[in-house]
């Protein structure tokens, strides 16, 4: 499955407090959460992001709190995939669990700039920076997690198993 979109680029150690500050955690409605994504860091994000856009981060993306509200807000805002140099552990599993695709590639992140047009194949892990004409290969996803993605998230995976 290939996704293509315009890039929103972020730096290293983007923590979940920055992705969605705690003052917005008093609700669980995904649409409201999405409207608060990156509220302080990039107030234009939730307004200007388009469905299918790609988020690119540096290392340790999603560090800090376990709040699932963070990947939920990003997914609901319209982001189709996050590409980062590395992900913090809890954010990584939360993303798989809620069905938000994520890919790890240091080289791709170093090449990609804000507003670049990028495509990503979620099955093979191939990332193409169309603006620059460069190709990259993301780190392979463990088999178990591939199963979770194929099921459409952890809830569906568990339902199948039961």
């Amino acid at each position: 499955m290939t996704i293509e979109g315009k890039v929103w680029k972020f730096g290293d150690n983007i923590d979940t407090d920055v992705i969605i500050p705690a003052r917005f955690l008093n609700v669980s409605d995904k649409k409201i959460l999405a409207s608060s994504a990156f509220a302080d860091l990039r107030p234009d994000f939730s307004k200007d992001v388009r469905k299918g856009d790609i988020l690119v981060g540096g290392s340790n993306f999603g560090c800090g709190s376990s709040r699932e509200h963070a990947p939920l807000a990003i997914k609901e805002a319209g982001i189709s995939v996050i590409i980062a140099k590395s992900f913090a552990r809890i954010f990584y599993r939360n993303s798989f669990n809620i069905g938000l695709p994520i890919l790890e590639s240091k080289e791709a992140v170093e090449s990609i700039e804000e507003n670049d047009q990028v495509s990503a194949d979620l099955v093979t892990g191939e990332i193409v920076n169309k603006t620059k004409g460069e190709k990259f290969q993301a780190k392979p996803v463990p088999d178990f997690m591939r199963g979770v993605i194929q099921a459409g998230g952890l809830v569906e995976y568990i339902k199948k198993q039961e």
Partner: protein
């Protein structure tokens, strides 16, 4: 080849004789935890799965602590949803306002976690219980919802980093300084996906309260968990609180570690993490020019009785510096009561501090001490990310209870010797 503490606990909970880093396994959960921020999403997931009952009503703990007593109408709705869920499914360990406290303070205090347990919580600081020789880690709400339905969790076995603390403590140096120092050494990503084993003669002397401060902040370098070997101190702590039989797990002599880090405690002075990252640490002596507007003493890191005792001991008979607000939040109802009995609360009040009800309070910018633009807070909590305690242009300096108390009196970051 032998196993580390973490590997042994994961093996015992997944029906395996041996597990190795990288193995993915399904483990049985002894205690599943959620709070008023993470439970509502987990409840939705549980309902979506469609099970008639939770896996075990005695093995789930629901603690409203982040935004309670309710700070606004949406928070009140979330707390209500959790309360109604707890009542509907007969959740035994639901702690209402009046019994509640900060989740990671009250679970050990009530004997709900003992050595050898496997605890999963929808809160990143669930790693606190490593202090008791348990495996515990944080997950998101979907994982927690699935656990409430099935009692099981999928886990990847982490490689273990062994950190060995040796040497004598300098004056006023405590568990908080040790973990801040370690964060400076490792960096915020230094233990991502790894387990940490805290070893060495120096940490063997630490009380459970101080060990909990250290395990609590293992997540700040990305670790999955941070575990101590249970010993006499642990067993004494547990036997007053639980009738369950603790399982003391020691690492095998030939256990394989990803790496070993040796820390000479005698080289550590009281530490402060400057904004905006917990690994941005320096000795407190380098922070003396930092004027502060607020001091927060509390949280799942340092809201326990020993923490309050140290801070109150320093503030007794002194006054909070002019222009500084000092907010003290005991971590639990029991700690609050004991602090009153010991005269700790009197010492704080007489010095000009205010006391809040047992809750997370301003730690995560929820309520009871939000910072305005340009304001600085010396805080005993665990994170100082941008905007963590309020305005994105405010600043948080992470310190021990002793340094927080000294700073409250000085009106700037400072050492206990200075007051």
């Amino acid at each position: 080849m032998g196993m580390t503490i973490t590997e042994k606990i994961l093996a015992a909970h997944s029906g395996n004789d041996v597990v190795r880093p990288g193995d993915i396994l399904q483990a049985d959960v002894d205690m599943a935890l959620a709070n008023d921020v993470t439970a509502p999403l987990a409840i939705k997931v549980f309902e979506e799965i469609g099970k008639e009952n939770v896996f075990n009503r005695d093995k789930i703990a629901l603690v409203p602590d982040h935004f309670v007593p309710n700070k606004d109408i949406p928070s009140a709705r979330q707390a209500k949803m959790m309360r109604e869920f707890a009542a509907k499914y007969g959740i035994k360990n639901y702690f209402e306002v009046g019994q509640m406290g900060v989740e990671h303070v009250i679970l050990p205090e009530k004997g709900l976690v003992i050595p050898g347990d496997l605890v999963i919580g929808a809160d990143s600081h669930t790693c606190t219980y490593g202090a008791l020789g348990a495996f515990s880690t944080g997950v998101g709400s979907t994982d927690l919802g699935v656990i409430m339905a099935t009692g099981r969790v999928w886990l990847k076995v982490p490689p273990t980093i062994k950190v060995i603390f040796e040497g004598a403590f300098n004056p006023w140096v405590c568990g908080k300084d040790l973990i801040l120092y370690l964060l400076g050494v490792m960096g915020v990503e230094g233990a991502n996906y790894c387990a940490i084993e805290f070893m060495g003669s120096a940490v063997k002397k630490l009380t459970i309260d101080q060990r909990m401060t250290m395990s609590n902040m293992a997540i700040e370098c990305g670790a999955k968990n941070g575990v101590f070997e249970a010993d006499e101190i642990t067993l004494n702590y547990v036997k007053e609180r639980s009738t369950r039989k603790p399982l003391v797990i020691k690492p095998d002599p030939d256990a394989k570690y990803e790496r070993e880090i040796h820390i000479d405690v005698s080289k550590i002075q009281p530490q402060v993490a400057f904004p905006h990252s917990p690994d941005n640490v320096r000795p407190v002596s380098e922070g003396k020019d930092v004027k502060i507007d607020q001091v927060f003493i509390g949280s799942c890191t340092n809201g326990r009785l020993e923490d309050l005792r140290i801070a109150a001991g320093l503030m007794k008979g002194k006054s909070v510096a002019k222009g500084v607000r000092v907010i003290v939040i005991p971590g639990s109802q029991l700690i609050y009561k004991e602090a009153i009995r010991e005269g700790i609360i009197d010492a704080f009040l007489d010095a000009g501090a205010t006391i809040g009800p047992p809750t997370c309070g301003p730690c995560l910018g929820g309520h009871m001490g939000i910072l305005a633009e340009g304001e600085r807070c010396a805080s005993t909590s665990n994170r100082n990310f941008i905007g963590r305690m309020g305005d994105p242009k405010s600043e948080v300096y992470l310190v021990s209870p002793a340094v927080a108390a000294a700073s409250a009196v000085l009106g700037r970051i400072g050492l206990p010797e200075e007051i």
